[in-house]
Amino acid sequence: MPDADPPAVEPLARRAFPARIGVLGAAVGAGGLLTRSLLNPADAATNQLLPPAVDLIRPVLAELARDTLNGLTVFAMPGPDAYSRTQGTPSPTPGAMESGATDFMINALDHFVPFPDAIAQPVGAALVTGLADSGLADTGLALPGLSVLPVELRTLDRALAAYLQSDETLPLSFPIAGLLNLMATQVNPLAVNGPHLSPFARLTYAEKAAAFELIERTDSDLVALLDVHFPEPLKASVSGLLKFVGGALLEFATFGAYSEYGVFDKETKALRMRPVSWSLTGYQPDGPVEGWDDFIGYYQGRKEVHD
């Protein structure tokens, strides 16, 4: 494996990248979540940045991830909420937001996907810095508004890098959100600005589909670029994993939206109320059963067969 120095960082590209993955909007946009102390140069000068910066950046990334996953779950099951309206497919009956599908995704991704941190960390790092260095983000130079990015971004960028280099376990929802937001800005560069916190949540239904088309594409540029940062045989594994992730996000978000997750009481193993999908589909109108009166006989009256 060649051990050449990483390519020199182009400052503007590095600044563009947090915008592309949505961190900028979450941190300093309208209702920005990044505490002022992190952005305050005086504080930055007196603090070591680590570990406090890690603590400061975590809630920012968590809110960004939640917003992004809201955009995903309404893609799976739209409802009467604002995200579904932004997507352009509002629906009068309850959908993913009402069924708790975003919590389902975050819980699963952050606590139960036994995804090796040894992979999640470098993927996350690649999403934050690697791609910025790789040239994929160069188109960001043309993004509207980037020429006036606040100087504080350099600090934000460092905080992100610090988080990824720390020993903190990376919640998988962070790099997943980063991936979706990066793809969002690929299909619609204007998604760096707008309602909600995340570029992905700002997309129309067709644009979200286009983002998944990019992730699923067999030899996507994204896959190739990310692979640069892994030696073989990990290279092929990461490439394959991303293809898997593209499909799994759609399938798992849909499963969660149509499941009883949001109303299931783990202690009593009972439902607190009727699941959204049960009302939608008419599934077992009187709740769980021991059986149904659906036995209508044997086909052609035949109860056994022999050779």
């Binding site: 893609f75 799976a76 099951m77 739209p78 497919t89 009956t93 819980n107 606590h111 139960f112 996907v113 036994p114 995804f115 040894a118 992979i119 239904y205 589909a209 998944f212 088309e213 699923e216 067999t218 594994s237 490439s239 394959g240 293809k243 898997f244 593209g246 499909g247 799994a248 759609l250 399938e251 798992f252 849909t254 499963f255 969660g256 149509y258 499941s259 009883e260 997750y261 193993k269 699941p275 939608l280 589909t281 008419g282 599934y283 059963v289 021991e290 059986g291 149904w292 009166d293 659906d294 036995f295 209508i296 044997y298 086909y299 052609q300 035949r302 109860k303 067969v305 022999h306 050779d307």
Partner: protein
């Protein structure tokens, strides 16, 4: 020193354990996952609680559900539906017990003999297998499935295809029929009432038509474990193995240890021959390692775990076939939308099928909402109306194949879950060396390097692709014939749930891991007895019966070869797994 250690209490291991326990051998059965001894306390009827592959009680993972599931690498859009726990994947199966098609066995001389996976046939004849089929069919017992409204809907469609009804156990040609299934058919009030107060055992016996096969069978309420309707091995073979002293003369109950993850098979050279000597397992809860020796070791961990264990044990792989030749029936999925109720999803998950040798088969499948929605979005063809991911085939279904997603899915589901009927396309797929299990380059877990399951699903053989397209068209025609107003083809990404042949038995030393007796070619006293030992994809029939018949045959070979005993299948009569002596003894054991 045990006589036999069996690794894995899924669909295959308990068969060997029960058969050899009946012969008085000292058998240790090790299961990596949970015991599930008290299903009424542990299980529900809910899809996420049961079937979430990360957090559900039916997942590949330890008993402690606060701990993550076991991670496996799938380097493509796919889903490998593994389960740990006593019963393995039979815990969520539908109990379908069709026999393998005769055309996949050595010596078949039918007119279509050249149309099967001719390079990977079973190394013995169908006639030799029949007594083992019959033994398992009698043990379970296998019966002709009762019919609910969703079966009636399926048959209405099948009747339009110009095919005969199969009235034999053996599939002789294209035909349709009720499933032959390992379900106790409804008795008493079962299937005749929805009043739960009237559905307690023994007022109700057999299948109550609850529709929860995929969440685990624990009905009728109050029945002994071996009288639950669905004959998953936790309800059939395992209870028999634990009580072998009461129903078999000279029988000896097995010892079952759960949360016991086998990390290594030990072997040493004896008289110049590499010979299995025992295993090491790790306790999921304490992390403690245990080692025990045995005269014979049987691998029954499944198509994904057996190769992993082989590699992690450092066992030789001279022809390179360990983990290769993995078959999955290259499933596809069609959804029909109806104006009237189809009966979905009441009753056994699937009680009707259509067989079409040498192409494969079809079966109806009933699913609750979340699994239905999941099944509608698992695709290799993008999102209908948005992108096709380079595929998106058109045909006798409506529009291009692909995910039914978002607003379209919601509209479909809002029409009513009982207005849908789904058909599973089961392809007779070829054994292909590049569809395989290897060790992953990703970090190891507590049990060692993890398996990687690779399917080159866009490079399947021409025969496999032809078979799948043929059966997908038949499925669409069947749904139209049944009255579907709209038919969707999903073009599933690999849903690896019927698994076969990754440690395949074969006549040739060049392309098999297991010899025709079930013993591994590379290591003496090491046998494989589960779906992974199957020689091929069986032509398409669901694999459990054939796998258990082969495991029964392998148990005989073990007994005859290493314990000086005689085979019994041709000379004795099987005891049925519902035997009241088993029930009484389970009660005494608090099971």
């Amino acid at each position: 020193m045990r006589d036999v250690i069996v690794i894995g209490a899924g669909g295959g291991g308990p068969v060997v354990a029960k058969e050899l326990a009946a012969k008085g051998l000292d058998v240790l059965l090790l299961e990596a996952g949970p015991r599930h001894a008290k299903p009424r306390d542990e299980w529900t009827t809910f899809e996420d609680d049961a079937n979430n592959p990360l957090t559900g009680y039916f997942r590949p993972g330890p008993s402690d559900r606060s701990k993550p599931a076991w991670f496996r690498e799938w380097p493509q859009n796919s889903f490998v539906w593994q389960l740990s726990g006593v019963g393995g994947t039979t815990q969520h199966f539908y109990g379908n017990y069709p026999r393998a098609y005769p055309g996949v066995f050595q010596g078949y001389d039918g007119a279509d003999r050249n149309e099967y996976d001719v390079n990977h046939r079973f190394p013995f004849t169908y006639a030799e297998m029949v007594p083992y089929f019959e033994w398992v069919e009698a043990t379970m017992p296998v019966m002709t499935a009762a019919m609910g409204h969703k079966e009636q809907t399926f048959f209405r469609g099948a009747e339009t295809l110009g095919l005969p009804v199969q009235t034999t156990k053996t599939t002789l040609g294209p035909s349709y029929r009720p499933q032959e299934n390992a379900i106790l058919q409804p008795g008493g009030t079962a299937g005749k009432t929805s009043d739960k107060n009237l559905l307690n055992y023994p007022q109700a016996t057999g299948c109550t038509f609850c529709g929860y096969c995929f969440q685990g069978c624990m009905r009728p309420n109050g029945a002994p474990r071996n009288q639950f309707a669905k004959r998953s091995t936790d309800n059939s073979y395992v209870p028999m193995a634990l009580t072998a002293n009461v129903w078999a003369r000279g029988g000896r109950p097995i010892e079952l240890i759960t949360d016991a993850y086998v990390t290594r098979v030990h072997a040493e050279r004896r008289h110049g021959v590499l010979t299995a000597t025992g295993v090491t397992w790790r306790d999921n809860n304490s992390g403690a390692e245990h080692r025990e020796d045995a005269r014979v070791v049987v691998m029954s961990g499944g198509c994904t775990e057996n190769p992993r264990l082989w590699f992690n044990s450092g066992l030789p792989n001279p022809n390179g076939w360990v983990g290769r030749g993995y078959t999955d029936h290259f499933f596809d999925w069609l959804i029909g939308s109806f104006d009237d109720s189809t009966g979905n999803p009441k009753g056994v998950g699937s009680s009707a099928r259509l067989d079409f040798p040498p192409y494969g088969g079809l079966e109806n499948v009933g699913l609750p909402p979340a699994l239905s929605a999941f099944a509608g979005t698992l695709s290799d063809s993008g999102i209908r109306g948005q992108y096709g991911n380079g595929r998106g085939k058109t045909g006798p279904w409506d529009g291009p194949a692909g995910r039914v997603m978002g607003p379209e899915l919601k509209e479909l589901m809002a029409g009513g879950i009982d207005k849908l009927m789904t058909v599973l396309v089961i392809t007779d797929d070829d054994v292909e060396p590049d569809n395989r299990v290897t060790l992953s380059a990703l970090p190891a877990d507590e049990n060692g390097p993890i398996p990687k399951v690779t399917f080159k699903h866009r490079q399947r053989t021409a025969r496999t692709v032809r078979n799948r397209e043929f059966m997908a068209r038949k499925a669409a025609e069947l749904l139209r014939g049944a009255g579907a107003k709209k038919v969707y083809r999903i073009d599933w990404a690999p849903l690896i749930l019927h698994v076969q042949s990754s440690m395949r038995m074969g006549a040739s030393e060049q392309n098999s891991v297991v010899n025709p007796r079930g013993e591994t070619r590379a290591v003496k006293r090491l046998f494989v007895a589960d779906n992974s030992a199957l020689s091929n994809a069986l032509g398409g029939p669901n694999p459990t019966l054939t796998s258990q018949a082969l495991a029964t045959r392998t148990a005989e070979k073990i007994f005859a070869t290493y314990f000086g005993g005689d085979p019994w299948v041709r000379s004795e009569s099987p005891v049925v797994s519902t035997d009241p002596r088993v029930s009484v003894r389970l009660g005494q054991l608090g099971l």
